[in-house]
Point group: C2
Chain length 193, copies 2
């Protein structure tokens, strides 16, 4: 069983991750931003540099969960974005899943975004709405409830709260999605009641 | 300077490579075929398995040259192929270029297909024609010339010749392209006369 996992969600510029152990304690929660993506001709070396920088900050864990980008390949206007997200996804699989070469064990798992959305009842029709308010509630519960669903070490909460302050242009959506994906994974695994 | 390089070219189903040292001796020349690509929904784990299998057979070298797929993203009919090739390319960068995480050295270099085509005068207009006949000539020269352009160890030639036998449905195009890419790289580097 997985003692800890790292859950990763990437957007156009941000790669966010949450390192969560099986007691649902948040060991690390952060993101890396790149401003070098999708400018000029595609250079794989730029992506390797940017994704390596993120991976160097991502903790080691038993499993890595990667959100599977869910853009339809039918919408040709979005093709540059689809290619961009597919590139990040594939490079993350290569960088984090290289151990497969040695022992044939898959350490990187793909998670469908809407499955996480359904687990938390964040779906409106076929679309998933923001998980931001839910995450704010989880943070609040972590200091007010006796048995909170998710545990945030107290010394980290101040830093995380800044994410949700008014006037912060970065709404932390990817970080919220990464955290919820980790929580859903453990609750899927252990709460099959 | 690179004592040896591995040059890699990938098509829809084949990943071919040539391991060539700086004396232009062909140390290894081979390919791996996958029949699991582009079937049903995209699963990154299938790609990781198939590409890891190829990478496990690819020799270690100072540098890895990867042909940059040159499909236009304007042609929307070819999106599935573009996505497929981009996925293979990105995963190869991740699997072969992971050392960048440790020391910041790029070991995987992208090579533009038409640049190799121009080096060998294989261009017809904007398109590159097959390098198969040229490779056959290089193999023949290797046993008939005193100072051949490329050296094939004699004990390997019989195996390689089978590639070009009549009735062989696999025309070995990717293998030819991988070899020519390696030769062009060294000739670019050392023959700037």
């Amino acid at each position: 069983a997985a003692k800890s996992i790292v859950s990763i969600v990437f957007g156009i510029r941000k790669t966010a991750w949450a390192h969560v152990d099986r007691n649902l304690t948040v060991l690390d929660w952060n993101q890396e931003t790149s401003h070098r993506y999708m400018k000029g001709a595609y250079l794989p070396s730029i992506y390797l540099e940017e994704i390596s920088a993120a991976v160097s900050r991502i903790p080691k864990a038993d499993f890595f969960l990667l959100e599977k980008p869910s853009i339809s390949t039918q919408n040709t206007n979005l093709f540059p974005v689809t290619l961009h997200l597919r590139t990040i996804e594939a490079m993350l699989h290569g960088l984090l899943g290289g151990g497969f070469l040695q022992d044939g064990q898959h350490r990187v798992l793909s998670v469908v975004r809407t499955a996480v959305g359904k687990h938390f009842e964040l779906m409106v029709g076929e679309s998933r709405t923001s998980g931001r308010e839910l995450v704010q509630q989880l943070m609040l519960d972590s200091v007010t409830q006796e048995h909170p669903r998710v545990l945030f070490p107290r010394d980290t909460l101040t830093r995380y709260r800044r994410l949700f302050q008014k006037g912060n242009a970065d709404r932390g959506e990817e970080m919220c999605d990464a955290l919820l994906q980790a929580v859903a994974f453990y609750e899927f695994l252990f709460d099959n009641s």
